[in-house]
Symmetry: C2
Subunit: 139 residues, 2 copies
DNA sequence: CTCGGTGCAAACTCTTTGCATTGAC
DNA sequence: GTCAATGCAAAGAGTTTGCACCGAG
C-alpha cells in the first residue's frame, strides 16, 4: 500500500497530503467517501484533516484527476480516480457494493449481470452536458 | 392548480398535508426538492412544515408513489411522482435544467440531444438491484 | 376516543469556510 | 522569504428525530 504509482501532474504543488490522497485513490478499486479516504490515509500513517481531504478532492475533480459521484438515492459523495475510461456500475441496494460493468455499448448489460448473480430492479441513465444557453455563457 | 387528479392509495391515511404534497408532485413535470415542494404547497395555501414534507416523501417513496433521485454531483435530493414509465434525463451542468429524453433504447440519444442544442460532455449509466447475498437476505 | 400524523425545535451528518500557522518552492 | 496549503474550529445546508398536540377514522 505504500507504492506510489501515479504522479501529481505538474502545475499542482506536491504536498504530503495530496500525494497521500492520490495514493489512497490509486489503491482503491471503487468509489470512496471523503471520510473513507481520510481514514485510509490515516492508516497509511499520513495525518490529515477531513476538511483538507475535501479541499484536495475538490482540486482533483477540477483538475480531472478524480471523479465525483453520488448514488442516486443520495447520501455522501463518492470519489474515485479518473482512469479515463468508460465505467458503468451495478450497485447493490442491500450492501451498496459496486460491480463494475465490462464495456459500454449497453447491449448485453442485463445478461452480463444475471450471469453474475445480480438481480436488476431498476436502472438510470443520465447524460450530462450543457444546453445552448449555458454553453454560450461558458465561453 | 387546485385540481386533484390522483388519489392517495387506500391504506394511506388521508391528510390535508399528504394530499397537498401529492398534488404538488402531480402538477410538476420535473423532479423537485423538498424545499421546492414545501414552497409550492404554501403557494397553494396549504401550511405545512418542512419536516412533514420529508416524512411524507419518505412514505411516498416507500409506497412507490414517488421516486427519489439526486444529481450525480450530489446536492439536494429530488422527488418526482412515480409515473411508472421509463424516464431518462439530460441534465445541464450550467443551469441544472432537466431535459426529458424520449423513449429508452439508448441508440440515438446523442443525436436527439444534439438536435435539441445540448452539448453532451458525459453520461452515466447505473443499474440497481440486488446481488445474490442480499437478495437471499431479503426473502 | 384513539392512535397515527403534524408542528415545532433541536440534533445530526456531510460539507464548506475563515483564519492563523506551516511548509513547498 | 513568499504565498499557497493545511490544521483546526466553527458555520452552513440538508435531513432526521423527539415530543407534545391535533385531527382523521
Amino acid at each position: 500500500m505504500k507504492e506510489q504509482r501515479r504522479e501529481l501532474p505538474r502545475g499542482i504543488k506536491k504536498t504530503r497530503q495530496r500525494e497521500c490522497v492520490l495514493s489512497v485513490l490509486e489503491n482503491s478499486d471503487y468509489p470512496m467517501s471523503a471520510v473513507d479516504i481520510c481514514g485510509s490515509a490515516q492508516k497509511e500513517d499520513c495525518r490529515l484533516w477531513l476538511s483538507t481531504v475535501y479541499r484536495i478532492l475538490e482540486l482533483f475533480v477540477k483538475e480531472d484527476l478524480a471523479l465525483k459521484t453520488t448514488m442516486p438515492d443520495g447520501g455522501t459523495a463518492l470519489y474515485e480516480l479518473n482512469r479515463f475510461r468508460h465505467r458503468h456500475y451495478a450497485v447493490c441496494l442491500g450492501c451498496r457494493r459496486v460491480l463494475e460493468m465490462e464495456g459500454c455499448p449497453l447491449e448485453g448489460f442485463a445478461t452480463e449481470l444475471s450471469e453474475r448473480d445480480f438481480r436488476v430492479t431498476g436502472h438510470r441513465i443520465e447524460m450530462y452536458g450543457y444546453c445552448k444557453e449555458c454553453d454560450l455563457k461558458r465561453q
